[in-house]
Amino acid sequence: MSTPRSVRGHFKTLGILSLAAATLLTGCVSSSNAQESSEDELTVGFPEDSANYDPHQPPQTVSRTISRQIADTLVDQDPETGEIVPWLATSWETNKDQSQFTFHLRDDVTFSDGTKFTAQSVKNNFDRIIKIGPLAYVGASHLRGYQGTDVVDEKTAIVKFDGPNAQFLQAASTQPLSILADATLKLDPEEVARGKVIGSGPYVIESYEPDVGITLKAREDYHWGSSAYANKGPAVYETVKVSFIPDATTLAGAVSSGQVDYGFLLDTSTLGTLAGQTTLVQKPTVGIASPLIPFIYRDIFKDEAVRKAINPATDRAEIAERIYQGNVQPATGVLTAATPGSADLSSELAYDPQAAVKILEAGGWDTVGEDGIRRNDKGERLEISIQYSSTGGTTEALFQLLQIQWKKVGIDFVLKPVTEAQASETGLYDAPYDLTTWSQGRADPDVLRVVYSSLYENQSLFYGNAVPAVDKALLKLQSTTDAQQRKQASAEAQQLLLDKGLVFPLVDQVSNSAYGKDIKSIELDAENKPAFAEFVPNE
């Protein structure tokens, strides 16, 4: 019986190994890069690497966070007041209809390769963003209608648009409009993406090892810090060592155990494991409230009754309480409540299953089958499906709760877990399923225009399926200059989106980060990204 015995041994060991491997492999990732921190070294844990570190290119939080440290922007946004304050530009003025912005620039700023920052740098950067267009789609959407930059003299640049562009000043404080050195702009965008970025920020990238980490070194000659923060000079921590720790519990454990000084983007599920000496920083996110967005080209969502029934059928308070353990608030509008220009539309988002039933019945979904699912006169089941890459965790738990909630009004929510490879086979505009999750942060209501219009391929959900009234309302947001009128326009656009059942906002997410006992204080920017130059160690 020697053959069967060895076969059995083989089989069994592998089974055990695989279970162990899934938990252990992820647990070891950080050990090579994270070590005991010395006094002037800040160790940081991020949950993921980004494939692209060009500040102008795709806007994932991790890339934006690194960009925030290595590059500066023309202006900055005060995280407390939302006010736009000077940074590389000391002052600015606009013409009457906000189609021209004149920036007066600092003349003592240098990039980390020694070259000087001038008005020409502003022009070269914005020209490059337009030139690489689709690669820098967020920056390009901020610069919509860009006609060029006039270099009046070394210290003065005029940015011109073909019409009013009220959101541009705030946009100039975000990383997609970072100012980089000419040497970087000349490179192939792919090379920049791999981390060859020269900016004027308080840190420079010293080394980048994909999937392992990034090391940042402070610039000693830095003295032009943003006026939103106390520290205008060089960063206190000479070195910042970022490790990528993809497993959520391991990341939380790394902060708790002091393996890293600071953990960014902690998963809500792991907050209960943080040790007593760790300080948790929770900030409500700015941007769109975490939504499900219907693909309106799918048959089931061409039906307005179905779209309109989803919001009253959704119990947001239960989602916040169970899935997020009370760490988040139910959505009160299409924007999060913390976003400047948000509107309180919570009455539109109240849980009212009876109303949902009425809407569905009026819409022709008036027979309930034995399985509790509604059918229309053609006998079709009321089925809504979502496809997602299966990772378990909070998202899957959320979908299961929605499944239970929607079942109560007769909607069958079908979950289709797939591998990441399968998920990447279809895009936003040819999906074989009906709904998607989305996230987009920005401390300005104009974020609505980017996500919910039909204007930009790959970032506007209704691209190719324009809802003219919505586009009109959102473009008004860009062109309205008066602050009060802008708030009004934002509220109107959100109301319209909800009335037409074009978005199902669920909760206002929080950004969780935590630091250990070696850090005295930290600062987050207007998008809740850490500003490492402002971190202060304990004596």
Partner: protein, 270 residues
Amino acid sequence: MSIAKNLRRPSFGVAAAAAFLALIAAAALFPSLFARFDPVAVVGPSLAAPDPQFWLGTDLNGRDVFSRVVYGARMSLAAGVVAIVISVVLGGLLGMAAGYLGGWADAVISRCVEVLVSIPGLLLSLAVISILGFGVDKVAIAVGIAGIPGFVRIARAQTLKIVNLPYFDAALTSGTGGFKSIITHVVPNAAGAIAVVAGLDLGGAILSIASLSFLGFGAVPPMPEWGSQINEGRLYIATAWWWSLAPAAVVALTVLSVNRLSSQIGTKES
């Protein structure tokens, strides 16, 4: 005879293993007798600790973990059995063909098996799964396919042993057809050995299925399955240990029980 003797006076370990397996099998066949709640309904607060009402606590959505483990037994056990049946039937057929036909057929089948054996079983299952897609049924097929090579070897060895015995030659020379001889002489004689190994492999198959489900390939939510339940609760292991630990303990006990029983039978058999 020795099996019968052993079954008459089982050790405590064997008795406990048999009792536990009987319980799990009953849960798989009649889950509603054991479960106290609907496994996919919200019945309590989120992440409630085990108490008299919720014996194994609740999960994030407020579903009863005990009821989910009970209903999970059906999927996990059935998947394990399906996987073994696939391995035994396909492996047995190929092995007997190789052993009986010999020559080129044997060479081709045996080399293919050697190639498959050189690939770790779980990796092979993962490759199959990525073609088939998600779901417990597909996981069972994938694990079953990965188990085929072992049974090809056993069936081939047993067949070789029997076809070289004088009575098999006698059967052939007396005019019985080759196919019929295999059915009447090879299958019954090889069945014992194959059955023992199948029993031993059932534990491994259940574990492999749980592993693949843990990695997210298994049951499509909200249906409960042990491996995917362990995965669901993984992030909360520090704050709500019962969510992952309960299904994990059941998987471990089931596999240990299967191994204990089948190795007992295996020792007596040989």
